[in-house]
C-alpha cells in the first residue's frame, strides 16, 4: 500500500513534468471552452435543444480528455516505460505488478478528473452553465467512460512495440474520433453521413452518455452506451491480461 501511494505520487509528478500530456489534458480543453464560449456565448439555442454552446461543450470536452488520456497518455507512458526498461527494473523489486499498473491508471484518472473539474469551474463561474443532472450519476458515467477507454489504452500499449509507434497509433485513432464523435464539435453540426460513421466510434458513446446525464436524462435512455462501454472495459481487461508485456 505504501508502495502504491509512493508510486502514484511519483507518477503524478512525472505526468505534470511532461508538458505535452499535461497541456492536452488540463489546458487545451479549457482553451477550447473559452474560445467557443467567447464566440458563441452560452445563450440557449434551438439547435442544441434549448441549451447553450458551453452547456453541451463541457461533457463533450470531458469525453475528449478521456480519449486523450486513455489512447495517448496511458499508452505512450506504458510503451515508453517498457521500451526504456523502466518496467523491467521495477519487476526486479518486490513491488506487485498490479501496483505498478494501478499507479498509472490512478494518475490518469486523477488528471482526467482535474481536466473535467477545470471545465466545470470555468463553466460555472464564467458562463453560468446549466447543469440539470445528478452529480453522482455523472460521476458514475465518468468513471465508466474513463475505465473503458483506459482498458483500450492497455490493449494498445500491449500491442505497440515502441513509444514512437504508440504515439502514431494513438494519434491515428484519436484525432478522427475527436472530430467525428461529437467530442470536438457538437454532433448537431455534423452531416447525416458522418453521424452514421460516428456510431462505429466508441467515443460517440461517451459523448452521448455524458451529455445525456449532464442534462438529467436517465440511465435507461443510454443503455446502448452503457452496454458498449461496459463491453470495452471487460474485453480490454481480458485482452490486456493476455497480451500485456513487461519487456
Amino acid at each position: 500500500m505504501k508502495s502504491l501511494l509512493k508510486m502514484t505520487w511519483m507518477e503524478a509528478k512525472l505526468f505534470l513534468r511532461e508538458p505535452v500530456g499535461a497541456f492536452f489534458t488540463l489546458a487545451f480543453p479549457l482553451m477550447m471552452l473559452f474560445l467557443f464560449g467567447s464566440i458563441y456565448g452560452n445563450s440557449p439555442t434551438s439547435m442544441f435543444n434549448g441549451y447553450g454552446t458551453v452547456d453541451i461543450s463541457i461533457p463533450a470536452y470531458t469525453a475528449m480528455i478521456i480519449a486523450t488520456t486513455g489512447l495517448m497518455g496511458l499508452t505512450i507512458t506504458l510503451a515508453s516505460n517498457r521500451e526504456n526498461g523502466v518496467l523491467r527494473r521495477l519487476r526486479t523489486t518486490p513491488v506487485s505488478p498490479l501496483a505498478i499498473l494501478a499507479a498509472q491508471v490512478i494518475v490518469m484518472f486523477i488528471m482526467t478528473s482535474l481536466g473535467m473539474l477545470f471545465l466545470v469551474l470555468a463553466g460555472k463561474f464564467v458562463y453560468h452553465v446549466h447543469f440539470e443532472g445528478n452529480a453522482l450519476s455523472i460521476a458514475a458515467g465518468f468513471v465508466l467512460s474513463c475505465l473503458s477507454f483506459y482498458a483500450i489504452g492497455f490493449i494498445l500499449a500491449s500491442l505497440v512495440p515502441t513509444a514512437r509507434t504508440a504515439q502514431v497509433v494513438g494519434m491515428v485513432l484519436l484525432y478522427p474520433m475527436l472530430f467525428l464523435s461529437g467530442a470536438g464539435f457538437p454532433r448537431e453540426l455534423l452531416p447525416e453521413t458522418i453521424k452514421k460513421i460516428s456510431t462505429f466510434l466508441p467515443l460517440t458513446y461517451v459523448v452521448n452518455l455524458l451529455r445525456g446525464l449532464w442534462i438529467g436524462e436517465s440511465w435507461e435512455q443510454h443503455l446502448i452506451s452503457v452496454a458498449i462501454l461496459g463491453t470495452m472495459l471487460v474485453v480490454g481487461i481480458l485482452a490486456s491480461v493476455k497480451l500485456f508485456r513487461w519487456e
Binding site: 505504501k2 508502495s3 509512493k6 508510486m7 511519483m10 509528478k13 512525472l14 513534468r17 511532461e18 516505460n81 526504456n84 526498461g85 523502466v86 523491467r88 527494473r89 519487476r91 526486479t92 523489486t93 518486490p94 513491488v95
Partner: protein, 307 residues
C-alpha cells in the same frame, strides 16, 4: 563457507541459438564471483536466469535457497540488482528514485546515507536524463544496495565509463563486499575481473571454459613471463646462445624479447640482467611482462572477432 547460488546444468535456448549450454557453478557466501566472456557468450542470459527474469530451458537453479522461478518474492526482497539494460524515467530526480525504491523493501537502508556514500549528494535534484554515464551507474548501484540485500547482481557495471568513474565504482564494489554481501558480476574488462573478483568463470559460446581464482588461472593458463630490453651496442659473441638457455629468444632490430621456460619471474629477470652485466652489454628500457587475465582469456576464447 556456505554456497549461496547453485547452478546445475543450466541451459537456455532462443529459437535455434543455444545461449547457455550446460553451465554449472556455485557461488560462495561473501565472495565476488565474476563471469567474463566475449559479447554474446551467455553471461547476461545466465545472470538473468538467476535473477528470475528469464525461464531456463534446462537444468536447475538455486539462489538464496529458493528456485528463482518459483519463489520470486524471497528472491526479489533479498537481492539487489543492476541490470545491463534498464532505465529510470527521464524526468525522475535522483532523490525521488531512491525514495520510491525504498518504499518497495521492508528493510531498506537509509537512502540519504547512500547518496553521500556514492557521491551523488549534489545531484540529488537532478533528473535521471541529465546524469552522466558514471552518475547513472552509481545511482544504479545505490538502488541495488538499497534493500540491504544478501546478494548483489551487477551486470556490466562499468561498460562505457571513463577510467576515473571505473576506479571509483571498483572501490564501491569492494566496499559493498566488505559489508559481507555476496556479489555476482559480469564484465568484459579483464582488468576489472582481475582486480575485483575472488573467482572468475570464463564463458564462451554458452559454455563454462575455465573457473578459478584469477591468480590461479593466470598461473595455469597465462603462459610464460617475458623480459624485454633494447640493446644499445652490438651483441657480444655467444650472447644469443647464452640467452637461449634461459628461454625462447626473439630479436626484432635492437629489441630483444626472452620468454622464460618454467623459471620463476624473479629468476628470469635476474638471469637476464646478470648475463647483460657480465658481458658488459649496454641496454635500456628493460621491462618484465607478466601474463595477465587477458592473456588467459584470449587463449581460452581465441582472437576471432565476435558478433
Amino acid at each position: 563457507m556456505k554456497s549461496i547460488i547453485q547452478v546445475n546444468h543450466l541451459r537456455k535456448v532462443y529459437g535455434k541459438t543455444v545461449a547457455v549450454d550446460d553451465i554449472s557453478f556455485e557461488v560462495q557466501e561473501g565472495e565476488i564471483f565474476g563471469m567474463v566472456g566475449p559479447n554474446g557468450a551467455g553471461k547476461t542470459t545466465t545472470i538473468e536466469c538467476l535473477e528470475g527474469l528469464r525461464q531456463p530451458d534446462g537444468g536447475s537453479l538455486c539462489v538464496l535457497g529458493v528456485d528463482p522461478q518459483k519463489d520470486d518474492t524471497i528472491l526479489r526482497s533479498n537481492t539487489g540488482i543492476q541490470l545491463q539494460q534498464s532505465n529510470l524515467p527521464d524526468r525522475m530526480k535522483v532523490w525521488e528514485a531512491l525514495d520510491l525504491y525504498s518504499s518497495f523493501y521492508t528493510h531498506a537502508v537509509n537512502w540519504e546515507g547512500l547518496l553521500s556514500q556514492l557521491g551523488l549528494e549534489d545531484k540529488r535534484n537532478t533528473p535521471f536524463a541529465k546524469l552522466s554515464g558514471g552518475q547513472k551507474q552509481r545511482l544504479f548501484i545505490a538502488l541495488a544496495i538499497l534493500p540491504d540485500p544478501k546478494l548483489v547482481f551487477l551486470d556490466e557495471l562499468t561498460t562505457g565509463l571513463d577510467p576515473q568513474a571505473r576506479h571509483a565504482i571498483w572501490d564501491l564494489v569492494k566496499d559493498v563486499r566488505s559489508k559481507g554481501k555476496t556479489i555476482l558480476m559480469t564484465t568484459h574488462f579483464m582488468e576489472e575481473a582481475e582486480r575485483l573478483c575472488d573467482r572468475v568463470a570464463i564463458i564462451d559460446h554458452g559454455r563454462l571454459v575455465a573457473l578459478d581464482e584469477p591468480a590461479a588461472l593466470i598461473r595455469k593458463l597465462g603462459g610464460k613471463e617475458r623480459v624485454a630490453f633494447n640493446l644499445e651496442s652490438s651483441m657480444p659473441a655467444d650472447f644469443e646462445k647464452a640467452l637461449a638457455r634461459l628461454g625462447l629468444v626473439e630479436i626484432e632490430g635492437e629489441r630483444v624479447i626472452v620468454s622464460g621456460n618454467d623459471h620463476h619471474q624473479a629468476e628470469l629477470v635476474g638471469e637476464v640482467v646478470r648475463l647483460l652485466t657480465t658481458t658488459n652489454t649496454r641496454f635500456r628500457d628493460l621491462r618484465t611482462e607478466e601474463p595477465n587475465l587477458e592473456d588467459v582469456f584470449l587463449k581460452m576464447t581465441g582472437r576471432a572477432m565476435r558478433e
